[in-house]
Amino acid sequence: MSKEALVEVKNLKTYFYTEEGVVKAVDGVDYEIYPGETLGIVGESGCGKSVTSLSIMRLVESPPGRIEAGEINFKGTDLTKLSEKEMRKIRGNDISMIFQEPMTSLNPVYTVGDQIIEAITLHKGVKRKEARRQAIEMLQKVGIPLPEQRVDEYPHQLSGGMRQRVMIAMALSCDPQLLIADEPTTALDVTIQAQILELMNSLKESYGMAIMMITHDLGVIAEVSDRVAVMYAGKVVEYTDVDTLFDDPKHPYTWGLMNSIPKLDKDVDRLEAIPGSVPSPLNFPEGCKFNTRCPLAKGKCYDVEPPLEDTDGGHMVRCWRYEHLEEIKKRGERIYEDRGVQK
């Protein structure tokens, strides 16, 4: 890419030192986020998506967690080197975050207005009256009807979708350059989900900010992402733009993920599922971490971990045998067992 990256995560390692041992939640992750784009991060539960984002915000609970190695360059500053005080100036101002649970992400004892006003006054140094005016404006921007009235309501008076809109209003109130959204729609109904994603897409356009969208739902990825990083067991296993990923997944794991969601628009009558489950981060296997579940695993896969390799023009894949998968795909064969027939 010609543009300069807004965020550049390099070899990030975040470990948790627990009584059972060292949990390598994030174990060498690399990716970039460019201004104005949406990077999707997808992977099964426990693969380290949230910990990666918390590392960027420097919100990893410590102890037991610690950023072991790596760099997080945000506009040329390595965030891992900043003091807590310097970091506070960045949080909510340059980088904002919204969470999964709109039910619990707002403080029940304050009105939504109070909470947006807090977000505004934290960084902007404006008077309360002006902050209130801006809060109402933000509520309007995120599509909340009757904002002058809603601003004085308590979170319990709002629906889940409304609360998530309020969270977005709070997160965007200081005009951040990066918005991290950790499963922002998982807790919502499907129709509300679509509305929130649409809202985020349109706000991204008007604010020109970048979004890091964390989800385990490839549908969400398809909807909002420009580029995608697929994570497995604390590492990025495939990394490319969204169209390439869906047209030509090169990693056996991505292939499995894609084939385990029903496609209503395509004439697919079989669903494939990845067998087994994610290995415990306390004892990852030797070699490729996917080898316990990968139908193509063979020889070298059990001894040496594959690097994240550029296969062609920026399509990065971490697999020794992706070319083999390519041939199988060309032959129209499957690599996973059938999970059942969809009709």
Partner: protein
């Protein structure tokens, strides 16, 4: 929940309304003490005037509405000005000990680790000593007097609040809204005051109400045991102390000196009962399971 709503519900509940009325009554007595029982000189208003030098208590009569206690001390005067003392002990002791408890509990839970370990060990040590004994020993060391009683009660009275606050904060600090606020760039102090304490304060308030009553009883007990207020000081505990030798009225008329016991006893009981009633009603109002 808003304060207005809480207050409305406190008034609607018969028991807490009763409590509120009694407390209000005592507040009025305390405020208007100089009019109800004019002191001889404002400097020593807390010194109970004596009707003479008679040792034996004398029943209520003209000028001495509640009679006189052992040593001819005016019971009415002692009760009226003792109301101020009761509030002073209650508010200062409960206020300070709750404050210490809140600070220690919050710091322990919010920062965890070594800080938590340190404070909780201290709490355990303080909790292992029986409260009344500890308070008595400390008052004895510091010397007789109400101020020292209060110091002792604060010194050994904060642990309950600390534990309660700690468990509350532990619960709240992992709430997503705390995370969300940190993610917006709020500082520790802001998080603690604005988000954590505001969400944990009600159980602590309830506990404080309950303790208002019991602190006055404890302070009275210390007076009764002889380490409290100096003789003649207007304090309900002192009034009870005066009655110590006159609880039974001797041959033929066991209830002869009833006024020495019943009057201060009733005041202390009503005072602590009222705080408990309010505390109870408060808890019912705030318990989400009951709503």
């Amino acid at each position: 929940m808003e304060w207005k709503e809480i207050l409305t519900r406190l008034i609607k509940n018969k028991l807490s309304l009763f409590g509120l009325i009694i407390i209000l009554f005592f507040v009025l007595v305390a405020v208007f003490a100089p009019y109800l029982a004019p002191p001889r000189s404002p400097e020593d208003a807390y010194e109970i005037p004596r009707a003479g030098w008679q040792v034996e208590p004398q029943p209520p009569r003209e000028g001495y509405l509640f009679g006189t206690a052992q040593g001819s001390y005016d019971i009415f005067y002692g009760m009226v000005w003792g109301t101020r003392t009761a509030f002073r002990i209650g508010v200062i002791v409960v206020g300070l000990s709750s404050l210490f408890g809140i600070i220690i509990g919050t710091l322990s839970a919010y920062y965890g680790g070594i800080i938590d370990e340190f404070f909780m060990r201290i709490t355990d040590v303080f909790m292992s000593i029986p409260f009344l004994v500890a308070a008595m020993v400390l008052t004895t060391i510091l010397g007789k007097g109400l101020d020292n009683v209060m110091i002792a009660l604060v010194t050994f009275g904060w642990m309950g609040t600390a534990r309660l606050m700690r468990s509350q904060v532990l619960e709240i600090k992992n709430e997503e809204f705390v995370q969300a606020s940190i993610a917006l760039g709020a500082s520790d102090t802001r998080i603690i005051f604005k988000h954590i304490i505001a969400n944990c304060i009600f159980p602590v308030l309830i506990q404080a109400f309950m303790r208002m009553g019991s602190m006055v009883i404890t302070a009275s007990a210390l007076s009764f045991l002889g380490v409290g207020a100096p003789e003649g000081y207007a304090d309900w505990g002192q009034m009870i102390t005066f009655a110590r030798d006159w609880i039974l009225g001797g041959q033929g008329s066991a209830l002869k000196y009833w006024y020495t016991v019943v009057i201060p006893g009733t005041a202390i009981m009503l005072f602590s009962l009222s705080w408990n009633l309010i505390g109870d009603a408060f808890r019912d109002i705030l318990d989400p399971k009951l709503n």
